[in-house]
Symmetry: D4
Subunit: 220 residues, 8 copies
């Protein structure tokens, strides 16, 4: 069953050398997998790595998995499950900013992943541009971050504002927050891709984990 | 917890100086907020303003909030909750027109907001262009309005008709009423943006509140 | 070279039985054909039919074809060339209405085709809804038409207006007139497809000929 | 409450002169209307017309309305309710053709409306182009129709085939039948709008009623 | 040739009562009109109104028209021609703001129209959010405007920023400035429609004139 | 009821000569058909063919059909029901590859159909390009296949990788696996259509059956 | 400069083992390459392969290349240049069918490539479904082909028709022929992807070469 | 003319404190600016910064500017002009990879900007996945980079491949290279946003400069 660099369970080929290649282990994406498949994957993974992540896990799925895997921790707001040893040792901090309150679940996916990977994380939530003065007290915190994640739906203008005042690399996460012509996050995505302020990049809609992962690579 | 111009509750930064800056208080957008978050926000807001609006609130959410906040009023057709003192003192009137019966909930969001902010409101509902003669008896009322809100789905031709006969500024609200190639309001939105009759503008699909807010600024 | 019901020139298979099947001969669509191909097609067609139409022909193409085919007539505003005998004998009239002046070339493609096929045609140009009162003097003419073609760009609201007052079948032709979010006629097309007034149908953007052809079938 | 040409119930303006203007009465579109609104509309309509149509009505809505309005008939496959006297007197027939079995509900909306309005209707169902020989036995029926309605989802190629062999005017109804890149009927709609065979037009996705209405105008 | 409320030149129906109905005369849209058509329209208009506007006129068109109509003035940056008497008498001012230098032609279309209609206009150009501190010295000017027009391409975040600090009604004009995923102004348009800051509306892409017209109605 | 080449049940025209024409019998597409319709179709089909396929059947539908048709087999993972005699006799094998675990249901639709039609099938599941080394042990199996089906969602890069190393014809099936800007499979579809590696084609989103059918034609 | 399996010219890495891996050599895609780059690539390729293809080459580019590479042949209608020895030895034939005359250039790209690779090719041009009887005399030729390529723009219904009567695998090539809502080939592409007749697949818009390549793999 | 943090030239507000805030000076975007505007901007900038960048400059614009500003250097392949002192002092290197030869201009925009800002740059061009073995000799170079920029059009699968084997942060730049359903870079953009391999982000289509800027921030 052991091939070069992966474990073949038939329905899945576990990439157990991901950590060696990429510096981080494979992250299990829960949607579209049965509970039996998840169980088998975790069992196998635990033989090969000290660190298991499961993303977009639902609470009821977690409860079943928990029975077998006692050490599994679940961060419900981030839909993220984790098995392993947290690591706190880096200097500097990653900053996670949201435009609104509804963007927080996506933000927590990024923030908790970053913390579990041993990064210091600062959070500034609900400082969207409808009241841009709310950024003022945080200006120093923004300017001193090593990397910044900006999470926003609707027109996502917050990315450009942060990008205009912050020297660190900035990762935009468009969210599906909004209605009508927000088109499930397309407007926020397009807005971030077209930011007039240089120094920012973008990930997929609602992809908090991808932004956290990338921020970790920069902060490493 | 008090910063310059806002209250920091962590998950939310209440913009308590919005009224000073914009002439209207912040409006709480309910979707994506938990009932606990809504409770905390209202409690805090009541310390700083005499006027609280909650938009897109569901009936069952209102019933829970009502227990703590006795003075909270709910306009179910408009999904709008309100706390404070109504104000009736302006001259002139805002006119709210719909093309169909199905557009009325969006219209009421605009109309009730305008009334709560102290504007006189006139309503003309279900006068879409399939029977344009239905506009005839209202021609004088249309021509004498201070500002007009036109609410229509499908092809939204009513905006252009009103715009052709009315000297006041006209705000179009495309609605998601329709099926097939109405694409959830995109057709109505595009139709309104391309109106051949000058003197009109447009807000997001189903955004009755935004139109009411803007009409209030004009009527002020 | 003669097969069952068509002439095989290799690069083209002339459908010489179209007239028998459909009541109208094949119409030659000029774009994408070389001048040599057009020449050969016309030569061959003239052996089999008394009626040749070439659509979307450019003036300079016409001038070359004219040298060989003296009887060819060209209607430049409609980009339509014609060879044969015009026919005037039907009762009733087809009505062609445009919203603006820029829609006239598309309208002429429909109108001239209809006339060449022996229909009476009435034209009302530039009566878009920005000034809907301009329709008033034509109300009787609209109501008595056998079939109506409405040609409009931008939001194309004129279709719904006409459809609301006219008992005849109405064919909408969206045009690419407009800019920005008119998206080359998509907005007009969607508007016409979603007309709230029953009794209308739609053809492709700028397809005046298709509307004329269909009107002819109704008026037959 | 009686205005010029309509009845004003506030939430609705009944267009009681539609029949005089258009030759057909207003058709009540059920979606987005409450059961109370439907009741009031029917009550009022019955004072002014002998013919009431309600489209896109659900079965459970019908059962409630039936209690008050005994004479109301319901055609469940067509989601169409009807009150009045059927009329059978015209010559010729309208032909309703579907590409597949799943297109039948949309077809029945057209066919039943046509029958109620006094047209003879012929039906040919499930003759899509995957087996185009299935059209053969119906060739004569197709060629002798006064007007044809073609109802198809997916790529909707049937419209072009029928259009190539039939001299009557042809109305295409794209349906939302399909999956993946059929995009809820957009592919069928675009296919019909771009038909290479002249003599056809198109209505909105799933709009069987609109096609029936238009066919009635032609057959009149 | 004189009908009720318009002049019928065949290819155009001049709406000479527009001024009476709407408070402003009809504006001639040049694209799609021949130079001969423009000449005839101007000649006729001058008999009925003291104020003629021609929008989106090209320089070479203007030069030809100028020969016959000596009084015609041309504002090349705004592509706007004008004939008549300017009017300066209103209190307050309209403020026109652009995000970038490339947005200026659209801004001038709004600004010059407003000036010609007798409004005071202030301009603040190139203050996009990449350097939001550039707004600081203009804060008072922004807060005291009667109405504000914000013109921006790319992600158009400037609208939300202005909307957050300004109590006046704000009209957004998305521009086609940008590249790649700006999609010719669609991104800016969507961003403006989804602004998280209340108090703004939107017109079509690059429609400076429409914004100017609407601002004039508010400032009236 | 027997026509030339099909059975006419009214609501359906069974194409009983499909097998003669195409080499494979008609496949019954379950969605949009009632259980009564399915029953009648199967009954009739069994008189004319030894092979009945029903695609996209739900488990509960199968259970009802099974009561009447004892020999019906159901492959739940592939949503495919089958009645007839399996056939195993061909040389070579078809290879079915998925990028992820969530793509397996679509893959099984292809694989089981191929097996029932008498093809040898090899499966390689979950070898997406995030860990492209997982392909290494299968390189020989990939290079020796007669035809390959690649099934992938998200960005669907696996198709291009396989296409770069495999001399056989390759059929891509984009899946709706993904979130946000995967747009229900559009991104995967576009990616496959634009593959830079020659030798591949594409079917509709999630159309495993279509790919299996086509692979069978090649392997024949 | 020689690496494992490719030649590194810096701006290009020639894949000289493509033939070994895929059975066909790399095809040089001309657009976006300078004439100097093309010269260098051909020079280098000729050292390693007996077969050089250049696709989408313009006539004037060919003339320059011809000076240095005397043996280069150019098929202008197919925009395809070729250097090497043609090969004629296979049994069976590939059939290339177009719906219209304007689709021929795309068809020739497929047909000439197939011929150069040693396949027999039959062509049937201009048999679109507007006159489907034109297919009749070719029915036997269609049914006996080893593989069929169908090339069509507009609604591309021809693919489904051919697919309904032909037992061979069918490759659809949507073309950008059409106007208005054909959207540069999107409609044809969607139509082909949603074909109701099984047994067909699809390549990118106007990608005649890709279809020829794939047909060659099947016919091999 | 000097305000807080910027120079006001009316048509432009030069952000002379950008370098202090962001670590890099403002980059002048040439499109949409007249040559006179560019001259004035450069003149003014040179008073305040030692580093001037002009992006997307055309060769003929450069030649005019060069007359006044002798020190201006122009990198034509990157459309980038530069004035100032290059800086070479950082450890590590940024790696710029393209899928094809046509992607090189976008790559050079990134690479030259990085070099001018004092970064070591390595280039690997034309290693797209059609021949993924071409990556082999560069595996070490890829794994040791500090940051990687991947530039690809069409389906842009290269990003995922690189992302699967490289531990550094990876920035994707979709390009408009391709035809048909590549939709001017949309397919590449969507592919990159949906990459199944973690560790990558994305910028706007053809935005080489934005990627270079962001890479510089990471490498700093």
């Amino acid at each position: 069953m052991k091939n070069k660099g992966f474990i073949n369970l038939g329905f899945v080929k576990l990439d157990v050398e991901r950590e060696k290649r990429k510096g981080l282990p494979e992250i299990i994406y829960a949607p579209g997998k049965t509970i039996e498949q998840l169980k088998k994957i975790i069992r196998e993974f635990k033989k090969h790595t000290n660190l298991v992540f499961i993303s977009r896990l639902e609470n009821k799925q977690f409860k079943i998995l928990k029975k077998e895997h006692k050490g599994l921790e679940f961060f419900e707001s981030a839909r993220l499950a984790f098995f392993g040893k947290k690591n706190k040792e880096r200097n500097g901090y990653c900053l996670v900013i949201t435009a609104g309150t509804s963007d927080i679940p996506v933000a927590e996916e990024a923030a908790i992943f970053l913390e579990l990977m041993g990064n210091n994380v600062e959070r500034i939530y609900d400082v969207g541009v409808a009241g841009v003065h709310r950024l003022e007290p945080f200006r120093k915190k923004i300017r001193q971050a090593k990397v910044v994640i900006v999470i926003a739906g609707m027109e996502a203008a917050l990315l450009s504002i942060i990008s205009g005042i912050c020297p660190a690399p900035i990762i935009g996460v468009p969210t599906s927050v909004g209605y009508g012509a927000s088109f499930g996050g397309i407007t926020a995505l397009l807005g971030m891709l077209n930011s007039c302020a240089p120094g920012s990049v973008c990930v997929n809609i609602d992809n908090g984990l991808g932004a956290g992962y990338f921020a970790h690579l920069i902060n490493k």
